[in-house]
Every structure is written in C-alpha cells, then in structure tokens.
Point group: C2
Chain length 201, copies 2
DNA sequence: GTAATCATACCGACCGGTCGGTATGTGTCA
DNA sequence: TGACACATACCGACCGGTCGGTATGATTAC
C-alpha cells in the first residue's frame, strides 16, 4: 500500500536526486556542493542525510536512477523495440543533431562528464558507470547484429567493435562540442558519425 | 647572460610544472591539492607562489607548456613535417594502438580530462584548451588536404568535418578505455578509428 | 506512543592564499 | 676589492572560509 507518507518520501527523495543531478551536471561530482542542492530544493541537511547516508551514495543514486533512467527511456528502449534497428539508429542520431540547444552543449553529456571525472578516482563510480556504458554498447551491438540479419549492414562487420566505437565516438563528439561551446560543432561532428554508420551498410 | 640563479629559477619552476601536471592528471584541476604538489617536489608554498600568482595560473601554465608542448612534439610536428601525411596519420594511430600501457589508460588523456572538467566552469581554461584543440584539428585538416592533393584521399571529402570528427573520436576512445580501465578496449576502439581513416581513401 | 520525516546547530578537517622573514645572489661605486 | 643597496628565491606559520558530516530537536503520520 502506498501511503501519503510514501508519496512525500518519494517526492523529497526525487527532489534531492533531481537537484543533485543538476548540480553534478554543472560542477562535477567532487566540486558539487551539498549546500547548493539544499538551496535549490529548499530542504536541509537533515532531509538529505535521512534519505542518503553520504554524498557518495547520493552521487551513485544519481547515476543509477536519473542518468540510467533517462538513457533507458531515450535510447535503450527505442533501439530494443525497433523493428528496423538500423533505421532507428540513424533516427536517434538525427534527433540529436537537430534537437541540441546551447544549454545542453554548454554542460556536456552528464554521463561522459562523470566518466572522465570519476573513473580513475573512485571504483564505485567506475563500476556503476561501466554498467551503463556496457549496457549501451550491448544494446547497440544487438541492434547492429539484428540489422545484419536483415541484410541492412554488411555481413563481415564486427558488430562488437563497431558498437564500442560508436558509443566512444558519440561521447567524443559531446566533449568536442562542450569545449567549443557550440551546437554547430556538435552537429557537424555527429553528422560525420552518421556517415560512419551509413558506411556500415 | 644566464646566471646560476636563473638556472635554479628555471629548474624549480619546471619541477612545479611537472608535479602539478601529474597531480592534475590524477585528480583533475579542481581536486588537485597544492600540498600534494609541494610534497612531491619537496618545495613549499613560498616557492610556488613566487613562481605562480595563483593555483589558477599554475593550471593554465600546465596546459600551455606541459600539455601543449607534449602534443606539439608527439603529434603536431610529425604531421606537419610529413612528406606522406596520410601514412603518417595511420602510423600515429598505430603507435598509440601498440604503445599504450595500463597506467596511461588508467588516468586517461590529460587534455581530454581537463576539457571535460573545466570547459563549462572556467572561461580561461576553456580558451587555452580550445587553442590546443583547434590547433590539433587544424594540423589534421591540413594533413588530410595535402593527402587529398596527393590523391590518397577521396576528392569529395570534407576535410574540415573529417578532422573535427577524428579528434573527437580520438578523445572518445580515451574516455571509453578510461572507464573500462582496459588497454584492450582502447586498442579495439582505436582500431575502428583507423578503419574509419582507411575509409577516407 | 513510536517510528518516520525533516529542521537546526554545530564540529573538525582541509584548502587556497597571505605574510613576515631569511638567505643568497647581483650591480654599483668608492 | 670590498662594502653597501637591492632584487631574487624560498621558507613556513598562519588565517578565513568552505565543506562533508553528525547529533539532537521538532513535527507528522499511523
């Protein structure tokens, strides 16, 4: 049974997660300040440390729930459920090419940011991020393999290597655009990546 | 005239730059501790703040001198001086594919690390890093254009877009390998990138 | 009542930066 | 040549402020 308390619990927890995500997105995990998160939510230390035992745990929860949740809905599910995975892959790229504003480019890809910052420093973060990355690559790999079976991709393609490179290059485009602070650069970069995918046919 | 004092001055400054580079490479700029740098060098706060007005200035000096200096010697010059730029490009990729140890993969690409961490946070860092990135892309672009003139690359290639993507994907490979902490992943990833370059012919 | 939920007050550690001081060199001039 | 003035290079104690974390109190729901 879901009580009113559970709802309040969830909303408070969700508030904290969302605010923490935004703060981490802008400043990175290590430089993220709890005070900023509390200011944004209007909550206090007591609330935060009631729901999360530490800043570290809060960060991992952001990775597991907010970031992975978003990717699952925006990328993983569409690819897995697609009847034409190859076309869906191109469509997803197109969506990114066209629907990218200054704000998004400015702060970069939340996943990529954390990967660069935390992978070498904290084993827990690395593992949780690795789960997402592996999942992502796996989804793309399955999509390519299915496309291969449908004859839309050359038969001799190494789908594992290609999916690995695709995800890596994708994040690389984010980084390039982030430094230049330019959606145009991001579009140009992703456009080349789409040509690479086109070349797989 | 170079006096003994000048020599002492330069070596101390170089020591600080090298130690700062190592510390920043491992922990990022914001998380880098001056105390750690001082411990490594055996110097003190007084020495550091004699040579650099702030931690911020020290970081920018690391970018301008250490990082850019290394790239200039390892990548920019070979590409610019190459008689066969296309082959040189492939050779540089091969060198990276084979000469990459656990330690290097663990801490990631120093340039990429700083780009992700600092581009959105600090305008000075972004500008200094952007100079390097632009230079890098420019060198690759010139190399591709020359290769085009030599007939080693298809005539209809957009060298600007390709060079942009190449640098972006390159850094993306670093990020992927850093998360997996695996030189094998890096090699596999760069191998795909080399195939992309091969496809430009 | 009692357990969950959140607020308030506060602690200790750490960090970038400052500052007075010292030691060692360099240039000048008698 | 040697004494004086000054600049450079470096030391290390210290400060203000921030930050993650804790202990405890108040409120609410069941």
């Amino acid at each position: 049974m879901i009580t009113a308390m559970d709802i309040a619990h969830e909303t408070t927890r969700t508030q904290l997660l969302q605010a923490a995500f935004a703060e981490i997105h802008r400043h990175g995990f290590q430089a993220a300040g709890l005070s900023e998160i509390l200011r944004d939510t209007g909550l206090t230390k007591g609330a935060l440390y009631h729901h999360f035992p530490s800043k570290h745990a809060l960060g991992l929860a952001v990775v597991d729930e907010v970031i992975q949740g978003w990717l699952a809905k925006a990328i993983f599910q569409p690819l897995e459920e697609a009847e034409d995975p190859y076309q869906t892959l191109l469509t997803l790229l197109d969506q990114r090419i066209h629907g990218m504003d200054d704000e998004a480019v400015k702060w970069g890809c939340p996943l990529n940011n954390l990967i660069q910052e935390m992978s070498a420093v904290d084993a827990d973060f690395r593992d949780h991020l690795s789960v997402i990355l592996t999942r992502w690559q796996g989804v793309v790999q399955v999509a390519l393999t299915r496309a291969q079976a449908q004859g839309r991709v050359r038969a001799d393609l190494d789908c594992e290597a290609a999916s690995l490179f695709l995800v890596a290059a994708w994040e690389g485009c984010w980084g390039m655009a982030k430094n230049r602070q330019s959606p145009a650069v991001f579009r140009q970069c992703l456009h080349e990546l789409r040509d690479y995918v086109r070349g797989l046919a």
